[in-house]
Amino acid sequence: MSSSIHILVVEDEPEVLDALIRDLEVFEEVFPVEAASTAEEARRVIDSMLDEGAKIGLILCDHVLPGENGVHLLISLQENPDTKAARKVLVTGQAGLEDTVKAVNDADLNHYIEKPWTEEELHSVIVNQLTSYVIENEKSVLPYMQVLDSERLAEVMHQRGNVSDY
């Protein structure tokens, strides 16, 4: 199996962070979850992950953070070739229209989850986003079928034809 793909959660309110991480438990075994409470900490976490050869597949980011805001962080990550491929999701209740538009245009935002979220909604967004990440970035999709959208991954395998009899 190639290097592991991580999920990064950036959220400053401890209770909200806990709730997010709890809802992400089902993915933990295949996609380890990392947490940060500020943009600055998020960058440190990302740097150390990249140093270990890991990849970032998905970033769930709150908008209102102490210091640098979430949209700004996502834009800078979009400009960084190491994190450009990561799927970017804004989880927030307070991003205004202007910031949201900026996130869509400049950070290539993949999804917007409005607080409060439901577990099913979050789950389906994450499955969807990670499935897209895996399809775009991984040669072998087999290790991810169990937790992600196995039908879409099977279709990709069928189309690519890169698994053969031996």
Binding site: M145, S150, A154, D165
Partner: protein, 535 residues
Amino acid sequence: MKLTKLQFTGLVLGISGFLLPLVVVFSGLSFAGHMALGIFLLAAMFWMFEPIPIYSTSILIILLEVILLSVEGPVFMNAELPTETLNRASKHFVIPAEAVSSQQLLYSIDSEGELVGNKVDVTPISKNRVQVEGASLTEGMTIVADAQHRLVQYQPNTYADYLGTLASPIIILFLGGFVLAEASVKYDLDRNLTRLLLGPFGSTPKFIVLGLMLVTAVLSAFMSNTATTAMMMTVILPIIARIDQGDALKVGIALSIPFAANIGGIATPIGTPPNAVVIGALSQQGMIIEFGQWMLYAVPVVLVMLVVAWATIMGLYPAKTERLKLDLSGSFNTTLRAKILYGVFAFTVLAWITEGIHGINSSIIALVPVAALTFFGVIDKDEIRNLPWEVLWLVAGGLALGIALDRTGLAQWLISSIEWGALSRIWLLLVFAVVAVAMSNFLSNTVTATLLIPLAISMASSGIAGSGFNLLITSLVIGISASLAMVLPISTPPNAIAISTGMIQTKDMAKAGVLIGVVGLVMVMIYSIFFWPFI
């Protein structure tokens, strides 16, 4: 590149195996046989432990053979046999000591340039000269002055023979199948056929599973087992999602696909690579198996095994749901190019199956889809690049290894060390079948067939296994048994895909897989005794 401990062990064993015949001289084995033994040991270890990909091992085999065994390689490039004329010195023939082999053979060259071994009695007379006597020795005979010389008992092939395996008829036959499969995926023919064929199976879960298995088997007979499984997963996953939690039918359906794909691959020469190994190796022995002839041998096995697998799965994982609604909507692609594909596909399959009637070799027919589909732009260079070329290399390397084993006398030497006479014909077949199933549960099916087939061939050509030995049937037993291994997720790629969906556990697969493997062995034995010898 980081190797696991097991892979590292394989790497070390493979390299040691390669070097062993360079330092140890095995009695009765020619110089070239030593070279081939090194290559064989390296290949076996690398294929088993996979320190490098299995197709890469195949490519390495071809390279090593070209270097070490071909006329044009550095080893045999300017090789010439050292000869002497046999002349009587006083009463006896006196010759160099190294002219007599460890088995007391003195090689002479007859009028046609062929090497003949003469049994001789040796009396040493000096440090490097011996006095020999033998009934077949005559005055003026040309003898070989060095019995260990690399040209003794080996006529090196041209390197084109080893390279040519990649364009051998069976490889071209596969290429034809690959191109059809690739185009079918592109135009969604495989999925649309599935929908069409599933229609008559109604809505009872039992029959839906039977339908799924039959369709999977039919498709995997012409496409790769793996591609068929991947496609069928896109068909069954939505069905499974609608079944209630806790209904064993979920497991049953998920298990039925890889099993049917593994079994279906047996049905035609192009179904799965082990078939190619068998057919390719037999054709090197001058035994040509026609497409339809293979199907005549194999389809009865496939049908019975499908029913067995179906009954096993339904017995182990009975459905609670009574009705299952299938969504069979979807329509065939009706563009001109798709229609050309349908026509070419139908023509090719028909021509393959009727080879016995028109007599045109199936490998020649296989070039028709390759030419026609590219001619009409049904597939373009992207699809050609996307073909599983590594599978062709894998099979070609296996065929090249077979040539070397045969030509150098290694295969014969290997089997001559075992007392085969003690085994009756049926026991011998059973041994091959059991070993093939056991090996291919852990190793690649193709590798299993590749390693076992040369043994069968040399048993036949040396006559060592007695007159009751039938090469064709033994080869069928090996090739088909290699496809009956489906106990573990690693046994076949379809198994790996099915496990990855998370719908089934390894123990589910093992339980059903062992049952099917055992019944399969029994069936293969029954066919090899009561059916194959009579067609």
